[in-house]
Symmetry: C2
Subunit: 267 residues, 2 copies
Amino acid sequence: MRALIAGKGNLPLTLAAAMTKAGDPFRVYAPEGFAPDLPQVDSFRVEGLGKLLRDLRKAGVTEVCFAGAMQRPPVDMSRLHPLSLPLVPRLMKVMGQGDDRLLREVIAIFEEAGLRVRGAHEIAPELVLQAGPLTPRGPETTEVADADRAAAILAAVGPLDLGQGCVVAGGLCLAIETLPGTDAMLDFVARARPRLGRVGGGVLVKRAKPGQDLRIDMPTIGPDTVTAAAAAGLTGIAVEAGKVLVLNRSVLRERAKAAGIAVWAQP
Amino acid sequence: MRALIAGKGNLPLTLAAAMTKAGDPFRVYAPEGFAPDLPQVDSFRVEGLGKLLRDLRKAGVTEVCFAGAMQRPPVDMSRLHPLSLPLVPRLMKVMGQGDDRLLREVIAIFEEAGLRVRGAHEIAPELVLQAGPLTPRGPETTEVADADRAAAILAAVGPLDLGQGCVVAGGLCLAIETLPGTDAMLDFVARARPRLGRVGGGVLVKRAKPGQDLRIDMPTIGPDTVTAAAAAGLTGIAVEAGKVLVLNRSVLRERAKAAGIAVWAQP
């Protein structure tokens, strides 16, 4: 039995559909107050993490997949479940060390509890791209150059647990993704565009951080990414082959084609 | 005789005042269509760079200081001055390689023409801070930690010719400065703030790029930086000692004090 720990966005629905199609039995768990559009969702509180682990084992769950965006919730220590108590010092210790470190600790806790944590790309391999163009129009030479520079920038900031996204136009870096995420970054580029003078076009690159554990917080694009990229005046989107989830691929491709945006996977 | 090549902002006025006070003779040159609030400004076109170099020497100029923000102007090749022709291949070659590379080339061209290029901090050393607090309130431990992380991030991205600014809050990177500049970055943080949940406060760090030639594009803060930082919900501003221009220092200090923002110089 698998458990889907469902956050925001379409990914949990996409994975549920993929598992249903494959005939794999699964259950869905979501943070309290957040109800994904799926049947039979069990809710949990972050203060009840210890209890959740017990409930998962009781339900016969052996594999877990975290799917969808999860923001760090506020923690109410007065609501801490007794089974969560032993976990508090571990989580407190890594709390200020960036998302990567915190998420690695959460994975470790699940695996020590006997639950195998799987990545979305393992459950539905058809969600990532092989190297090459997705759109009929492949990238132009200048777009490949911009994408290469963005990839180099991401390689440099990755060890610092920073963004999976970067925008480069004509060799100039317009934005690096930080905590607020890809949409906020593209909104920033759209707002800055009138002040950029002769700097036109540009490419969004999404890549996993170097050495990133893809089982949590895997980089993702979807049709809305294309819309936001077009609004930011970009002409290309490059994702790392095999390591970036592409949601709603056919809609994304059509939208990119209509906007004149080349989408491709770089090695 | 010195020449001030004046861009936007208060810096050219501040330097003119400093040189007037010191009794140093100087002339002011500004790009065509842009008139700084100074007496006797000679204008030039970027297409006439070769002519400008000749005019400077004719006027007895031996030292040049670039001051104030200058955006890359659109170049109209049909207006190219004959004296600029030999410079075109050099400038074209570095055009796509980032601001740093382009600015180094411009400095080299001026120096090869026999003009010594000086930094604003050399003309008015009182514009940079020594290590330590500028405001009555010095930084708290968490603010120092955030500033240290921001400095580490800037050290990592510096070799890629990226930003002189970074915002970190509670150990989490909220923004890295890119082409659109510090104000655009702080506006981004202000807009993202409502979505950041429990991530409060934060520190803006401004530093020179590692190995940066301070004679062009020196990092700068002023009273408006404090206003923008306050609007972004930040509680601290840290600048690199000796390498960041602080304009209108007394107004900046009062404004920071009123906003509860600690301003200090880190080594």
